[in-house]
């Protein structure tokens, strides 16, 4: 019996080692490509690691210092950060309303928010493009190719899951605490500042990190609704596809840089990612 258990353990470990290699090998190759000159990449692929002194830094400096990609990076940072902030604030307000007030029809509103996240974005490309470029007009300014346009747009995809995540947490804060504060004469703002935000802090952190991540990673809408000034890093990455004679090293470098926040967040949100991706339907 004991031998059988040990064998089981060994085979599981081997299985998972293989999986880990399969997961990491393509990423490892991308890192390698980003460190090499076009000449080194020619011919038989060489999987041995590149030493630090041999790294071809031009792959990074060419797009990010000489090229336009520093602007793309800045746009991505601004869009993702503002979107995360906006979504978190709006979701907190909405969730508090859904959780504390018995509003007629609030169940349907709750359900409706989710359908927005489920719809395929490709079906909304054309109307959003037309609305952004011609219909939503403020004088001469349109939403097309602006960061504000993207920030508002990503709310549609981030708000639903943010509300679902926060609802579980705010429902868990006892109502008696709010009521006691109201009796003491506190207004809504004070309740948020002194009670809801401190108690829901971990949930708020997860919500804003995941919103940031989704906004950072989004490609399709960003590529359709921007042209010059508001392009984000994923759209920049796709520009490598069409150019003839792709510079693989530069492409790998850009891909690597746009992956960095994801890697950073992995350590922070790993335990909550399941809840985030399933709208809190399954707790991680």
């Amino acid at each position: 019996m004991k031998i059988k258990k040990t064998l089981g353990k060994i085979s599981t470990t081997i299985l998972w080692s293989l999986l880990t290699i399969i997961t990491l090998l393509p990423i490892y190759w991308m890192v390698l490509v980003s460190t090499r000159t076009p000449v080194e990449l020619f011919g038989k692929p060489d999987l041995s690691p590149t030493f630090l002194e041999k790294v071809h830094w031009k792959n990074f400096t060419k797009p990010f210092i000489d090229g336009i990609y520093s602007d793309y990076l800045m746009n991505s940072i601004i869009v993702a950060t503002s979107n995360a902030a906006l979504v978190t604030i709006m979701a907190l307000m909405a969730t508090y309303a859904l959780s504390r007030f018995k509003l007629p029809g609030s169940e349907s509103i709750f359900f409706w928010t989710m359908t927005n996240r489920m719809a395929p974005p490709a079906a909304f490309l054309l109307p959003l493009f037309l609305l952004f470029s011609t219909v939503f007009k403020f004088g001469d300014a349109t939403l097309f190719d602006t960061k504000i346009g993207l920030i508002l747009l990503y709310c549609v995809f981030n708000l639903p899951f943010a509300i679902w995540l926060l609802k579980g947490i705010i429902d868990g804060i006892p109502r008696e605490l709010d009521e006691a504060m109201i009796v003491d004469g506190a207004n809504l703002f004070t309740i948020f500042r002194k009670l809801i935000i401190p108690l829901a802090a971990p949930g708020i952190a997860v919500t804003s990190l995941l919103s940031f991540l989704f906004a950072w990673n989004e490609y399709l809408l960003a590529s359709t609704l921007t042209s010059v000034y508001a392009r984000t890093i994923p759209t920049g990455l796709s520009e490598f596809v069409t150019t003839t004679g792709t510079n693989w090293g530069t492409m790998a470098a850009v891909a690597l840089v746009s992956m960095l926040p994801a890697l950073l967040f992995l350590f922070l949100v790993q335990r909550h990612i399941v809840a985030g991706l399933t709208f809190g339907a399954v707790k991680g």
Binding site: T12, P26, L98, I109, A123, V282
Partner: protein, 293 residues
């Protein structure tokens, strides 16, 4: 002091306004444009009303569009099958303890946070002819030529493999979360009654996991039906029409050929089909779940 309900609506209003403006208005707008013949690049670039359903009637005979829908559906179910099987096995294996488990689990989570477009780039670099190690390894050790730039079947299956790489971790982690939350009593009673592992799995684990399975299947189907980014990066929809999934087809019709009216009709049909598939699946699974309770 505002009345209680008014405060509630006030707090909800920013969310509702945004979702109406950027979620609901586009939906009605695309429904509206779908009734027109409209191509800004044509001789007559204005919108011409064509009667209800004209564009939709045209789509019924649009071979390329219908094939793209069939392709998307096939893709969604093929990847669902592999991801669910693999993910369930992996989730079960994570219930036992073995060395380096948390490290393995951490690495397994990695693909989930990577942007789809970056996943496409990673796979392009890894598998493209003349650069990636994969075609070389396959050629040298197995004598198999991988060139999905030319071979339609290879292109489709390459995207299936990429999707499995990207999303199996989601299935694994979600099912693991579900499995760890299951009550232990039924297992103990089953063991006392002398049930074997197979019976335990099929008669206890699966029925108890149905709510979690519904969530996973739902989310995975929705997400694979709307896949665009990875494919755009890896194959660009080619070779030929081999990897032209519905999302990519709509993009090409609308932004390359500028068929605004027809593209709108496509968008609506696409939306409709997505909803119908999920609704059918949901009712089937929900009723089966009830039978077994």
């Amino acid at each position: 002091m505002l009345s209680k309900n008014k405060t509630g609506w006030l707090l909800l209003s920013p969310t509702i306004i945004i979702l109406v403006l950027v979620g609901l208005v586009p939906f009605f707008y695309v429904l509206y444009v779908g009734f027109f013949k409209w191509n800004p690049l044509a001789v007559d670039p204005s919108m011409q009303f064509e009667g209800f359903g004209f564009n939709y009637r045209r789509l019924i005979f649009d071979q390329v569009f219908l094939e793209s829908i069939w392709r998307s559906i096939k893709f969604a179910f093929v990847t669902l099958f592999f991801e669910l099987t693999l993910g369930f096995l992996l989730a079960l294996s994570l219930l036992s303890s073995f060395p380096l488990k948390s490290f393995f689990r951490g690495v397994h989570t990695l693909p989930l946070v990577i942007a789809p477009i970056v996943v496409g780039s990673i796979f392009k670099l890894f598998t493209v002819q003349g650069l990636g190690p994969l075609p070389h390894i396959l050629k040298d050790y197995f004598g198999y030529t991988l060139n999905y730039g030319l071979n339609a079947d290879q292109a489709f299956w390459m995207i299936v493999i990429m999707d499995i790489w990207h999303w199996t971790p989601f299935v694994t982690l979600t099912l693991l979360a579900g499995l760890s939350a299951l009550p232990q009593d039924p297992y103990e009673s089953a063991k006392i009654d002398g049930a074997n592992n197979f019976q335990i799995f099929f008669y206890i684990t699966i029925p108890m996991m149905i709510p979690v399975l519904i969530v996973v299947i739902f989310i995975r189907l929705m997400d694979s039906l709307k896949i665009v980014d990875e494919i755009w990066m890896l194959t660009g929809g080619g070779p030929g029409y081999a990897t032209r999934f519905t999302g990519i087809h709509i993009w090409k019709e609308v932004f390359e050929k500028r068929f605004y009216g027809l593209g709108s009709a496509m968008s609506i049909l696409y939306l409709y089909i997505t909803i119908v598939i999920c609704w059918i699946l949901y009712s089937v699974m929900a009723s089966r779940g009830k039978d077994e309770d």
